[in-house]
């Protein structure tokens, strides 16, 4: 009998087909308090990281933007204001609970018209090729089972001249800071998770999944391999987070 193919789920090895189910369980569990938890976990700095990503995306009015793993739609909301009524922003997530929550939030804040929603797996996007001017994924890539498939799909749906931005937790550049960060991730974070969402395990997974995610150079190589050109990355907060950007030329 052939050995079953496995992948990582945090520090555990799980069958490939099981990772998506497990990730969905994590986000189903945290969806209702996702925004609050993000603020607590990052001390509000995630808003600054997202602003940075928007500035690097350089989207203009009238353009089409695809935001993958949108969550509650922080990036998509800003893009919608920039592209205006002649542009289009598509907000997607693989998790129905998260996407519904994001959609409700956008509607409550009066954003309609140029904002569309799609329940989609980043590994197999339901969009035609060469359609979008910009594709972003914020804090989502590390939860994707086959990251290289997702990056290839981002490349496929981009128009020539378009750019992809990956905002994701990464690896601190300083060893001393890295130790403090580990202490915070594995001790403080699960406690916060238990207090706010009554779910320490999900936040332990988040901390572990960040450690298993490729480092800055590793992810840049993956983008190069997918065909992206002029790939660069920008370390934020000592490398806790990095923004990778590549162009389809």
């Amino acid at each position: 009998m052939a050995e079953q193919e496995t992948t990582h789920f945090g520090y555990q090895q799980v069958p490939v087909e099981e990772k998506a189910v497990r990730v969905r369980e994590v986000f189903d569990s945290v969806a209702s308090r996702y925004d609050l938890m993000n603020d607590l976990m990052s001390l509000g700095i995630h808003r600054l990281w997202k602003r940075h990503a928007i500035a690097l995306a350089g989207v203009r009015r009238g353009q089409r933007v695809l935001d993958l793993a949108s969550g509650t739609g922080d990036l998509a909301a800003r893009f919608a204001g920039i592209v205006g009524p002649t542009g289009q922003v598509v907000m997607t997530d693989i998790n129905e609970a998260m996407l519904s929550r994001g959609r409700e939030r956008q509607l409550d804040q009066g954003r309609v018209g140029n904002l569309n929603y799609a329940l989609a797996n980043a590994e197999r996007l339901p969009f035609v090729s060469e359609y979008f001017d910009c594709v972003t994924i914020g804090f989502g890539l590390r939860n994707v089972t086959h990251k290289e498939w997702a990056i290839a799909e981002m490349f496929r749906v981009l128009r020539p001249g378009g750019r992809a931005l990956i905002l994701e937790f990464s690896h601190p550049t300083s060893k001393a800071f890295s130790r403090v960060y580990d202490l915070y991730s594995f001790n403080v974070l699960p406690i916060l998770g238990r207090l706010v969402t009554n779910d320490a395990e999900s936040y332990r997974y988040l901390a572990e999944s960040i450690r298993m995610h490729p480092d800055q150079e590793g992810l840049r190589t993956m983008m190069d391999t997918a065909g992206f050109e002029r790939c660069t990355y920008f370390n934020l907060t000592g490398g806790v987070v990095a923004i990778h950007r590549g162009y389809k030329l």
Binding site: L48, G110, N235, L236
Partner: protein, 225 residues
Amino acid sequence: MTTDDTVQDPGARADFAIPAGLLAAIEGALNQYIALDPEGARAFAPTYGHIICIDIAGLGTRLTLIPGPDRVQVFGAYDATPDCLIRGAPLDLLRMMTAKRKESQLSSGAVQIEGDAAVAQALSDALAGLAIDWEEQLAKVLGDPIANQIGRTLRAAGDWGGRTGETLKANLKEYLEEESRLLPTRYEVDEFLRQVDGLRDDVERLAARIARLAVLADAERGDPR
């Protein structure tokens, strides 16, 4: 290939990059201010989606504003060519943004606009046109009766201040002109200026007469000039 490892504005073009936290605070404060006048906020509509770059001379820094229906987004450098660039010293920019008439700042060259000037004009018109009803805002916090009372007290204080100021000015003028005689009165100044004008005319007439006589004297000597 990395930038430095702090959260900063991504613009490498600016000499001084405004920290991202400060940019977020500026954006929050600006939008709260605009929200205080919902009617006036509609004037931003012609600027929606336009990338407006403000180059603050002297500080070597840039701000990028992208107005939209729900908020004005504020960045340091934005990685796209701006629709218009407004360049000037901080005070000149502030004057242009808040003044009803911008001609003096523009014609003197204190503020320069490159690109779509209509967008820059629409933005500064919208900002200058914001009229905040502070009494209404106060009423949301303290309730109508107290806000109304405070408003009336402040208006009365303003009226009293205005009247007192006028009286003080008149008294000071009278003291300087009539009692201490340190300054001339308006009538004395007018008379003095009239005499200066008369003297200047007399001098000009005399100069003309001398010139005419000089020509006549030369003619009599047979020395045509």
